[in-house]
């Protein structure tokens, strides 16, 4: 769900090149924008409160008895549809979908690497701002 939208759309389109998959795919909930309420547990009383809402796009699809679902950050209808397709394909067992499942696994790895690299880049930028105290005798 956290892959870059353009990569999700690419993979979703790749899934749809499979004719059997394309014909059996039913979009049960077309991509639509809505909100997700974020609840946070705060540390003082350990009680929950609502911090605010987040704009998301949600989509649901079905292939036979398998359901696929996606919720994507922001207003990204194409990426949400693609993510829902990837979600359902990743759960199908048909042998002919194996190359697609491998491609989906590969995108998940790529996403994790991308997020880790982003985090490393961020840390490289801020690590020098750690305070080193000098104590006087």
């Amino acid at each position: 769900m956290r892959s870059r939208p353009e990569r999700l759309v690419e993979l979703g389109e790749q899934c749809l090149t499979n004719q059997a998959l394309r014909e059996s795919l039913i979009v049960t909930q077309p991509p639509a924008c809505g909100t997700l309420m974020l609840q946070v547990r705060e540390p003082v009383r350990r009680e929950r409160f609502y911090l605010g809402e987040i704009l998301v796009t949600r989509c649901e699809v079905r292939i036979g008895a398998d359901r696929g679902w996606a919720m994507i950050d922001g207003d990204e209808p194409r990426a949400a549809l693609a993510a829902a397709i990837c979600d359902v394909v990743s759960r199908t067992t048909a042998a002919e979908h194996e190359p697609l499942r491998l491609a989906i696994d590969s995108l998940c790895r790529e996403t994790n690497e991308h997020l880790a690299a982003q985090e490393q880049r961020e840390w490289n930028q801020i690590a020098d701002t750690r305070v080193k105290f000098e104590e006087f005798e």
């Binding site: 309420m37 609840q39 540390p43 409160f49 490289n124």
Partner: protein, 371 residues
């Protein structure tokens, strides 16, 4: 002068709308890109999202562009849009302990678990207005870009070990104080459902979750003013305030997958978090201990989170003795206050006409009495 019902002004209203739109879209300068607003006016974008109660950076940038930089108008646009959207779900409860810090300072304590990490801050910088020309600024930007390219982070700076998780999610000062038995333990054993201020207006006495939600989307200026009034103003309180944690960082947003039931991270949002330590000195309080207030808001907005944390503990200690809670719940929302204020610009011809007639009637009565 009798009362005359009238209608009109529609053409003038439409012309005013067209004028605003035309001048905004056709101004001489180059088009203001969303990315520019997101990157170069990031704090304003954060503030608008926080006060709108909606994390949607691109929409906030659009709203700021449409409102020509009027933050309250941008909040209005975002809230109006949000009101058209369905709410799909509630996230899993995010633990504030999991915030991955980009900045973390602990004003109360020098030696704390983790680091004092200044991050992207001008707190310690003298305020000199940079008056160089645009060309010079562009030249400097190019120089900085070329210096940064090719370095391990590709953004400047050396590659630093990022594997120690305590650096990004350090233990909070509150835990240290608890270990030292220096803080009143107010942790709840139960887990009440949070109050949703977007569905039901919060009125005093309100659940603390309602107060926290109200403050987190309050107008930043209003909240700072409430804090300042509370600490120095006519409310007569003088708190011994010390800040524990001031953090800015990313918080993962997780939902349950409706098919598999597994947790799925949808995105992460940046938040600012503050703990305010209060020295207890009331006769009915445990004076051997401290108590702590909490502030958390969307984006990077330290002023707001600091005011919120201080007002959270102030409200707890006040326990309904004054109108503090009422003020916080009813007078700090940007849209409520600005909406009421701005409605004064709409025609009040009839009400004012009736006021004039009352003045004439009173004058007539006074003259009659005098004669």
């Amino acid at each position: 002068m009798g009362y005359v019902s009238a209608r009109g002004g529609l053409d003038a209203i439409r012309a005013a709308e067209r004028l605003v739109r035309r001048l905004r879209l056709t101004s001489e300068s180059s088009w203001l890109e969303e990315d520019q607003i997101l990157e170069k006016l990031r704090l304003l974008v954060d503030r608008v999202m926080g006060e709108a109660g909606l994390w949607a950076p691109r929409l906030a940038a659009k709203a700021l562009r449409q409102s020509e930089g009027d933050a309250t108008e941008a909040v209005h646009l975002l809230r109006a849009y949000r009101s058209t959207l369905p709410r799909f779900a509630y996230s899993e409860s995010a633990d504030a302990d999991d915030v991955k810090v980009e900045r973390r300072i602990v004003p109360a304590f020098q030696r704390v678990p983790g680091n004092q990490l200044l991050g992207r801050s001008v707190d310690y910088t003298a305020r000199f207005l940079e008056r160089q020309s645009d060309d010079m600024a562009r030249e400097e930007a190019e120089k900085l870009r070329s210096e940064a390219s090719g370095t391990p982070g590709d953004e400047g700076g050396e590659a630093h070990d990022n594997t120690d998780t305590t650096q990004r999610s350090p233990q909070r000062l509150l835990e240290m104080l608890r270990e030292m038995d220096l803080v009143v333990d107010r942790r709840r054993a139960d887990d009440p459902e949070p109050f949703d201020i977007t569905r039901t207006p919060a009125r005093p006495p309100a659940a603390r979750s309602a107060l926290l939600s109200s403050m987190t989307r309050a107008d930043t200026g209003a909240l700072v003013n409430q804090w300042y009034r509370n600490i120095l103003g006519p409310d007569g309180y003088l708190h011994e305030v010390t800040l524990g944690e001031v953090r800015h960082g990313a918080l993962d947003v997780v939902v349950r997958h409706p098919v598999t039931g597994l947790p799925v991270c949808v995105t992460s949002v940046r938040v600012t978090e503050v703990e305010a330590i209060e020295d207890l000195e009331g006769v009915d309080e445990d004076r051997t201990k401290f108590d702590v207030g909490y502030g958390l808001c969307f984006g990077h907005n330290e002023r707001k989170a600091i005011a919120m944390a201080n007002l959270d503990i102030a409200c707890h200690r006040d326990a309904g003795r004054t109108q503090l809670e009422q003020s916080l719940l009813l007078t700090t929302d940007a849209l409520d206050s600005a909406g009421f204020l701005e409605h004064l610009k709409l025609p009040h011809y009839v009400t004012f006409r009736s006021m004039i007639e009352r003045k004439f009637a009173m004058r007539k009565a006074r003259n009659r009495d005098a004669s």
